[in-house]
Symmetry: D3
Subunit: 242 residues, 6 copies
């Protein structure tokens, strides 16, 4: 059963162009099986970037529609809503019978297996309440106790030097001041940082995993697809017909 | 300061027509001050009714746009997104500086002052995960421990006989089996039931408050407006300009 | 039903004289409806001020007796035990069928509607365990996470300059160091500070609500009275006859 | 240091006469060291029995005064406020430097060492909210998950046949339905039942500890006294002078 | 990087012979990549089966020694201690730098991505406290709320008819009485049941995932190995030299 | 029943020689009754000291075997596994019917009776996850909120000057920075420090209890033995026969 060719759908839930470079896309899929194909789609209406609950509300319906439409026109084995705010994720789960994830859950659930205390480093203070809500909804406030910000917008993440510099500062504080064991990058736009960050922290004596959200999402969605698993209909019931 | 005439905006976040009867609207506003005016608006695009996260996603942007638009054209002192699923509420809070509530928070927060253990009775199993998420997000899982369903759709609520019959059964079970002290009606379409339900439960020896969500939302929004209070900008930051 | 004239009883649960000035009383009632009358009473036996559980024990029975006596001689629609330690509140609730509040619950429950994380600023370290117990009893330790002290006795609060100065320092620390979104004044003797404190914090870029406990208690008690609501007899059972 | 003769003060915080028989007193002290003396005192003003928060409020000040007075006239090494509602306990702790306990904490803390899940069987539904508050204040809601009532008043406890019969029913239900491992008698008037109840449960295949609150309180207070320990002044600060 | 051939070590932490049939082994590895090799080892000293903390203590050191020894003699990319009690897992994690799992964590963490409420069905009442401790240690008591037993010993699991019959009863109760959305098999000896159990539950209208612990452990360990991830040294520090 | 001569078994679960001096043994037993005899035994195989979960795994079976063997050859009334990591404790409880404790539970449970917030000071960072797990397993994360390290190995504790110096620093920080009310020494090798540490903290104005784990364990085990109590068979079931 694990031999089949899988097709995963990656939906970029923002309208900004050029926000994911080819390098970033490659990084995000680099641990997938050779036989897994990834289709990348982007919404064409909605928010430019998602940096607030306001932004999220305006992108979500387009994400859901895109997912449902794609799934009706070809075989899709799993879906990734490419944002740490999980836009549209629960709605798609109600509608389809394939595994569906945003950026939050996969990185966090994989992080649980690697250490006792997780910390998230995200972009702006504005999304902190939204992420805190995701932690609490997952029932994980005892495991995920640190939530730090780079004070950079999503667009600014393309300034790689500033990104690596701010990220290093916050990762170290997460470890030293907040007692964090596992670091989770709290924006799917923080990509391609693991190797360098891991190395720099090791030099400081900290051998800790650094998890990129989109990488975790792709490989975990693939895992569920390989096992033929999708969300329980006891949590995600089919929306009633009107 | 408490003398001023207040204007509250009630947004019906579904497109179904005739879903709120004049009696229901009257019931919902009956405890407001004489000087408070309520403007009722309904979205014209979005979901017919909200009975899933899928439905919620499609209504939310229209609710937010309607709220922002109304607030830009006249003096609005408070906003009610008339659904227990709180569609668009947090997004509007980020955007405006007036108190904004859906059906969940006001009924629950008022219920906290009336007894130790709260129970919610809602429409369908489909919305249970959404409501459970709201309870957890509010940090209230130790206070709100019972969540029961009528097994009736929102449209069916207009069958008043069935509503009262099913509601009575679930309210009694909430008290007797779940140890509930305060009953919260978990759909803003459950309106005009308090007097009868309270009386029937008293006959059984249970003197417990029965809170209707829309009634609680209107009067609590009015209270915040009287005090000139609105949401903290430390939780609800203004969405970043793009 | 909301047209009736309401009578609220404000009980000062300490014997110190002059502790509430006319200005403070005016501040406390300023958001009430014109038609609401407030009767102010003070116990004549008990503790001078309440700054410990020891003090609370000695005032509570006099508060309860005063409440029960007043309620037996005239129509009372709601009762406020004017102290953040809620002296006698639960006992009165068992005895009477009108809404009864101390200073803690109303300010906290109203604060829940305004932001994710609440912080309390109170008088002395001595009352911290008592307030922490109230937070935990309310099941709100995830929402109310900051508890700071002015290091001033209740009597000293009349030194307004020192009060405003210390209060500003602690409010800022609550926001900046503890991540607080909503500030609750943790002593009913901290009155008339909202406007100035809000303005000063806004100058620092913090647009956060500042809630005075007695103001919140009066208006929320009035709200319950308008709705004809009182505590559940499933939490507050009538004391058994002996 | 453990050689010294200790004197423990047992305060009966109710005015009912004959409520503790000599057999009950003997049972309560039977595990104390030979060298420990127990002085039994009863308040002469206050509530007849404590079966509500209302009752508790009226007894507490007399308990505190009696404790402080006794401690000022002779060497007292520990104090027991003989009621599961812990009347006056925290106030006395602020005032004196000897260990002070009511019935709740000792039985519960000793129970923690004997099994994962504790259950309390108490007298009337009226005291359930008070006991639930004590569980939560102790931070033990994950360990103490069952709270059952005999539906008997404190006075009725003297009907031993009914007591044993009801108690057996509730203990069995606590084990079989609630998964309880350790049984705590939730009223200090439930005395002299351990041997019989343990034996009956063993016959049913349940080898579980049955803890009487006053027995636990006496021996644990003695233990702290032997070690020269008393409550931390960081939790129980001395009440400020006025 | 994901092209490499991986070698996983499966340690059977009990001395009973014939406890894993070839069919069970095949089932456990059926979702692994073709390029992944699994080495199966069994301890030769220790407990016959693990059905208590007593059993666990006696097997754990042999599991740890076997893991460390194997890892020193060949390239091992991940280790599975084949028991839901996770014998030796945390000790091995301190000692080696490859991912190490028992049966509990992988099934639970994968279950988190599939539904809100998880339920475990295990063998005997004896292991319930051990599993409850694992749930609490993982900080997941709000997500994993149902824990049921088959009342069958590990050896008895080979009676497939009884296994399937008892399992079906408990799975249905978990869904209907405990509100479970995702079912986790709480013993690594419960193997090869997913297809049949899923089908039978679907006939009853329940479309819920049924997770086998050893299958989840193998594939999740493989996933971490593919990503080059292992446990954080901030949680699992190297044991100090003596 | 309390007159009998009791025999307690103290098992040193490490093979290091000279780790407990006669002074330390005396200190540990100094509050026991004259009539209580303590038998000291040490394992001869296992770990030299316990400073990791790895160490714990290798000592535990020898502790369990020694306990069971001793209990089979003479009358033992209670057992102490002399390490804060509680090696073998739960396994022995399943096997025998006498009270069995390690260092963690007694000190913590006694601490609960002395103040609201407990703090632990232990030896090395390596044992922090193990102790945090014990806190969580006990359900006490709201009461035990501070966990500090001396950065000293168990062997180094014999450097008394360094011990007292580091301990004083950490105890003060626990009080001043973490809000701790009760201090628990988080290694059974920290012995004989209470008097000096209490005195030094009092000089700084902090009157807080300082609890040594082995002293608490001995006297609490004796207390249970005096009452004829042992662990519930509903939590600690007898290991199934194979």
């Amino acid at each position: 059963m694990n031999k089949q060719k899988l097709t995963l759908l990656d939906i970029l839930p923002v309208t900004a162009s050029g926000i994911l470079t080819p390098e970033m896309t490659m990084d995000m899929t680099k641990y997938l099986m050779d036989t897994t194909e990834v289709i990348h789609k982007q919404i064409t209406e909605g928010s430019v970037t998602i940096e607030s609950e306001y932004d999220e509300v305006y992108s979500a319906p387009y994400v859901v529609s895109l997912a449902v439409e794609e799934a009706s026109t070809r075989e899709i084995d799993g879906i990734f809503s490419n944002c740490f705010g999980d836009p549209g994720v629960r709605a798609i789960r109600e509608k389809l019978k394939v595994p569906v994830f945003g950026g939050f859950e996969p990185a966090i659930y994989l992080g649980l297996g690697l250490g006792d205390i997780l910390g998230i480093v995200t972009v702006l203070k504005n999304v902190v309440p939204m992420i805190r809500a995701a932690i609490v909804r997952a029932g994980l406030e005892r495991r995920v106790t640190s939530l730090r910000t780079l004070d950079m917008s999503v667009i600014e993440l393309q300034n790689r030097e500033k990104l690596m510099s701010n990220l290093y500062v916050e990762c170290k504080k997460a470890i030293e001041e907040d007692g964090v064991s596992v670091l989770v990058m709290g924006c799917t736009g923080i990509v391609g940082v693991t190797d360098e960050m891991t190395a720099r922290l090791k030099e400081d004596g900290y051998d800790v995993p650094v998890l990129e959200a989109s990488q975790c999402a792709m490989i975990l969605t693939e895992l569920y697809a390989r096992m033929g698993l999708y969300q329980s209909r006891q949590t995600y019931m089919e929306p009633p017909e009107k």
